[in-house]
Symmetry: C2
Subunit: 450 residues, 2 copies
């Protein structure tokens, strides 16, 4: 008889998809959790002799995957889901979203919207999200209530909001929040200058200085629309990426969001600088922005993760949908059905996002020593039968509704599809109240305009 | 006190989206069902005085929509879901799908596969599907067990299969099946010549003659890939659509499936001939075929419905996903965020499909006098809150997992997300058995090839 180690949890599943190494599927293995971490992954019959466990969960017909990483979003905007559909980016921003925000933005708005978003994301297998919004402390509070990971954006933008008056105010408040939450293991930070068209050179220089001093990633919208590029050429005589290069923002700490419109030399530049891309295919289609050249980006060995963007431009905070669409678009646009195979799409939705955030030492794959951020997906129902290849089923057939259990840092936060950490009834009630106020506000605005 | 009519069923929902007229949303109305049909739709307070009902269902937070119409698929191929992913159409067909079919095709294969597909479709709100496959009588049997509508394809193809030896055999057997099921109210028929590259002129001439004699729609793959078009030019000196025009196949009875690669004059031809298009966006992307010019097709006033294609090239039989992707692609590819607004996408998934099948007098919208094919979608959960616009939520936010109840011809076939008409456990067990056989067959094939 072996000397048995006592651990917190043993999970047995028909399939474990660790994501690292790429494409591997482990059949009838057990995942061992202890002290918030993945301690071991081994054949179930070996687990019987090696470990004693406080809890054991048997999941026949299920696949275990790493928690999904949502590499770009604005969680609080869940309160504006479906508020302004079928509009192009600039009208969407200038005519609907920014006016509504200027009227309603507050710590309560951000807290209630972020709770709604965290609830949707966690139930859908997202355990970590990279956020950019006003009142980031309220979004952090929501994430901590949900007990999920957040990479909080230290937002900077050249116009005043209810959150801050000017770029220095944004950055100073962001720094204070970073100091306040720096000991929270579930919280990390990115500097988040909104976009080239909303941040002047001074703002971006300060962001760059802070990024260097504090060794923080920079999370920024870039090359989302042709209009943005034309504006930059008019105002700065260069395209946005070239401007960012001159300001020294590009590098391995840079996460460019969208990157829909890129010249080949700009793809080469991103590769050479070691930048990361947050690919948001649904949002780019829905706002009429286009399709990012993800096949070229991947061929250039650029690290590409996926993001939902906000519920106001998607309108689902669903990384299962994004990874599937990323794979489908790569094939359909390149004309090559083997572009972005299923295991690559799954890596984009997990490990690649973790790499971009500098968190791949802790999360992004089911690897002993990493945090136990785990999603159990039920593949036993009609919609994912028969199962010839679990990775293919996860990417092309499964939906977030098949997420059964979710663990973050070893703690079960979703059980049998129900979120244990948040109160769905209360969160939905608050969403109803916001809808009444915001919709009424719209009516008034319309009357005023007549 | 009025004289009250006694009816079978009254459904109260927060929103009724009849699809006709376009974009209409009725709040706090009741839908009245009697004798398999929609008898009335009226404000709930009026329903109180006008009707007595045997059953009443109250659905707060729900929207009622017409049953979804899946305008193109091969139901039985659900048994090959995920069997051959990340391959282009011609290798997918020639190297994987056709060899597997030639080995496994049988009435049992078609029956078991069709049951699996019907279960998935019905739970996802699809109440009518247009099918093309071998042993169509087995698919009809599965649809009748499920108690859903099927437009069965009288398939014709120039190669032998377990189902028939030659085109005359295919057509003759199809005619016999049509005679056998002609009195089934849930069953209709289309002539289904497989594709221009798999049907010679003789076959197509016979199909056209039958279509004229029997006044049947023609359901056919067309212009799916560049390769197919080049082959046609080599073999027939013209592109496939021109060949079909010369053979007299084009007209208001013609349902062209895919139509990915079209010249402007071909779009004009389809419009002038009153043809219908079955748009299958996921399948076209996944096989690397491309993106159909749906914005141009709609601008030419061509009737466009949506189809899932088979689970071997999609891999979800999910019309919610197809209508969403159809709307998103139209915006992203045209660069116009207002292209294919939500209500147009919903019409593509319902009324337009019914029109193509010649069934719009019976189904496709919630209209008094039409069959009671109704889907209740639960919009009350976090993922579809807040709800500013129910049509926007249905298309951009909701998923098939929010389908709560489904009625076909007034009969409840899905209740609280469970299919009442089919045995999910038995169907999944059979899918497992087929997987064992087919996967084993693959291994043998591989060994033989070594």
């Amino acid at each position: 008889m072996h000397n048995q180690t006592v651990v917190d949890l043993r999970i047995d599943a028909d399939w474990i998809v660790p994501v690292e190494p790429a494409g591997m599927v482990l059949e009838h293995h057990s995942l061992i959790v202890g002290e918030n971490k993945i301690q071991d992954i081994l054949p179930s019959h070996e687990a019987d002799t090696r470990y004693l466990f406080r809890e054991r969960i048997r999941l026949p017909g299920h696949a275990l995957i790493p928690g999904l990483v949502n590499l770009h979003g604005h969680a609080a905007m869940a309160l504006l889901r479906g508020f302004a559909d079928d509009l192009p980016l600039m009208s969407w921003l200038n005519e609907r979203i920014w006016p509504a925000e200027s009227r309603w933005l507050s710590p309560e708005f951000t807290l209630d919207g972020s709770r709604l978003a965290c609830l949707e994301m966690l139930k859908g297998g997202i355990t970590c999200f990279n956020d950019m919004y006003f009142f980031p402390d309220a979004t952090i509070e929501a994430a901590l209530e949900a007990r999920m990971r957040v990479a909080a954006g230290i937002i900077a933008i050249d116009f005043a909001s209810a959150w801050a008056a000017d770029p220095d105010g944004y950055l100073q408040k962001g720094m204070e929040i970073r100091d306040a939450y720096r000991d929270q293991p579930l919280v990390s930070f990115c500097l988040a200058p909104h976009a080239p068209y909303s941040c002047g050179d001074k703002t971006l220089e300060k962001v760059q200085t802070l990024a260097d001093q504090l060794d923080l990633p920079i999370h920024m919208h870039v090359h989302e629309t042709h209009e943005e590029i034309h504006q930059s050429i008019e105002r700065f005589k260069v395209r946005p990426l070239e401007r960012l290069r001159r300001l020294g923002l590009l590098g391995p700490q840079f996460i460019g969001v969208h990157a829909v419109h890129l010249l080949d030399e700009e793809i080469a530049l991103l590769a050479e600088q070691g930048c990361h891309i947050a690919h948001c295919p649904t949002s780019n289609l829905k706002l009429g922005s286009g399709v990012a050249p993800k096949t070229k980006l991947l061929e250039a060995n650029i690290n590409v993760g996926v993001g939902t963007d906000s519920a106001a431009s998607n309108n689902r905070l669903d990384v299962f949908a994004e990874m599937r669409l990323a794979a489908l678009l790569a094939k359909g646009i390149s004309g090559r059905a083997n572009a972005v195979p299923a295991h690559t799409a799954l890596a984009m939705a997990t490990l690649n996002g973790a790499k971009a955030l500098g968190l791949d030492g802790q999360i992004g794959s089911l690897t002993p020593g990493k945090q136990a951020d785990i999603v159990a997906v039920d593949l036993s129902g009609a919609a994912t039968q028969p199962c010839y290849d679990p990775i293919s089923q996860l990417v092309y057939s499964a939906g977030r509704d098949q997420v059964r259990h979710v663990w973050v840092a070893g703690e079960m936060v979703v059980k049998d599809g129900r979120c244990l950490s948040l109160d769905e009834t209360a969160i939905v009630r608050r969403a109803h109240q916001w809808r009444e106020k915001i919709a009424a506000g719209q009516v008034e605005t319309k009357i005023v305009q007549n």
